[in-house]
Symmetry: C2
Subunit: 208 residues, 2 copies
DNA sequence: AAAAGCGGAATGACGTGTCATTCTTTTGAA
DNA sequence: TTCAAAAGAATGACACGTCATTCCGCTTTT
């Protein structure tokens, strides 16, 4: 171990920073931003709350970082699908199904991330959620454009708005799920009904 | 004017109660629940903040009442469509279009109501929004069941989930609109794209 | 021994809710 | 009708608790 003293210190500091972020995420998600005191975060870790200020500017500072982490975490559920990969409706349908499935898996493994995104974000930074939704719908637009170019999606679609609506549809599922615990069977209903609505609409089969 | 003194007093008290509710709605919607002090509400009306406590228990008390009012206000945009009226897809499509249009009109005339429903509600009473969304989707279910029975909507539809998803879709539009001011032209795009997505889905015309 | 890290008491700003006091309306006796 | 007393309404100073942030003495690391 050729680590210098300074390097070791920096590593320890970084580790503790992460610990504090984790504790804050947990408590913000469960008690809520406004109801959480710095002392609560410190107590969770058994450290003095003065120590907190060695690692973060203030409460707003850590809250923004916690929220950003959560948003990135959720975004990662989308990132491993290539928006240009699909060549027909069935492929795109399968892709969408995988994305929604991954979303619900994320919800199960990191429920706090969704609580932060949907609930606490308004207390922390209203614009953060907006910006993230903007990013999600921009990404969705790429998928839609791909399908329109290749001819398997509706040619007259208003891509921008449709993308926004689809993001709203998907996140409505996760939003509801954070309120009460959601068994895997209910996910499946959401995924099936959501995908059916998205691809076929509500109309009976013989349309137009 | 045969009003007794007691009646006059009661009327005046009720009027002031309304004034305070209005002021609170305005300020909660603009500053946010947690950032609003009783003093702010009183200042808005130019009354002493002690007076506030003659009319409401505390901040939570008035906030719940303000939120309930807002939810009822928004619900009224739906109430004048009969869920059993439509007999074919086109009629139901027209009904849906009217509902969405009325929603955006409500948004224009009472923007604070939506700010309260979408944003402040989580700070005031998490369960209130849930309950209201529950009510909206239960109402939507009635429309869907009507269409399935009459054969013009998809027979295999998961009515419960689809209704929830549709509510999410519609409110995503209003949610976005409260952030930035939304010109009427953008409403129309939302209504058109939303209705198209709902009835036809994203797929190109000749499906399955 | 010096430097860095830590803890928790102290500080001060702020918001809530109370209450003694003042102002307004109503009452009813003259 | 008049007006003084009673009842009701409004006010804002203040007590109180809470909490983010700071400060300084103590401990651990180098």
């Amino acid at each position: 171990m050729t680590a210098t003293a300074a390097e070791r210190r920096a590593a320890r500091a970084e580790a503790r920073r992460e610990e504090i972020l984790d504790a804050a995420q947990k408590i913000f998600a469960s008690k809520g931003y406004n109801e959480t005191g710095i002392a609560d975060i410190a107590a969770e870790l058994g450290i003095g709350h003065g120590t907190f200020y060695r690692y973060f500017e203030n409460k707003q500072d850590i809250a923004v970082q916690v929220l950003d982490r959560a948003i990135l975490d959720i975004a990662s559920a989308l990132s491993d699908e290539d928006p240009h990969a699909s060549n027909d409706v069935d492929e795109y349908r399968a892709q969408t199904t995988r994305i929604m499935l991954r979303m619900f898996e994320k919800l199960e493994s990191h429920p706090e991330a969704f609580a932060l995104l949907h609930v606490q974000s308004v207390a922390i930074d209203t614009t953060a959620t907006q910006r993230s939704f903007e990013a999600y719908s921009a990404y969705t637009e790429v998928f839609l454009r791909n399908g329109i170019e290749k001819g398997f999606l509706r040619q007259d679609m208003d891509v921008e708005i449709t993308a926004q609506a689809l993001v709203g549809l998907i996140f409505e599922g996760t939003r509801r799920a954070i309120a009460e615990d959601t068994p895997r069977e209910l996910w499946m209903r959401w995924i099936n009904a959501g995908v059916a609505l998205m691809f076929e609409g509500v109309s009976a089969n013989q349309n137009g």
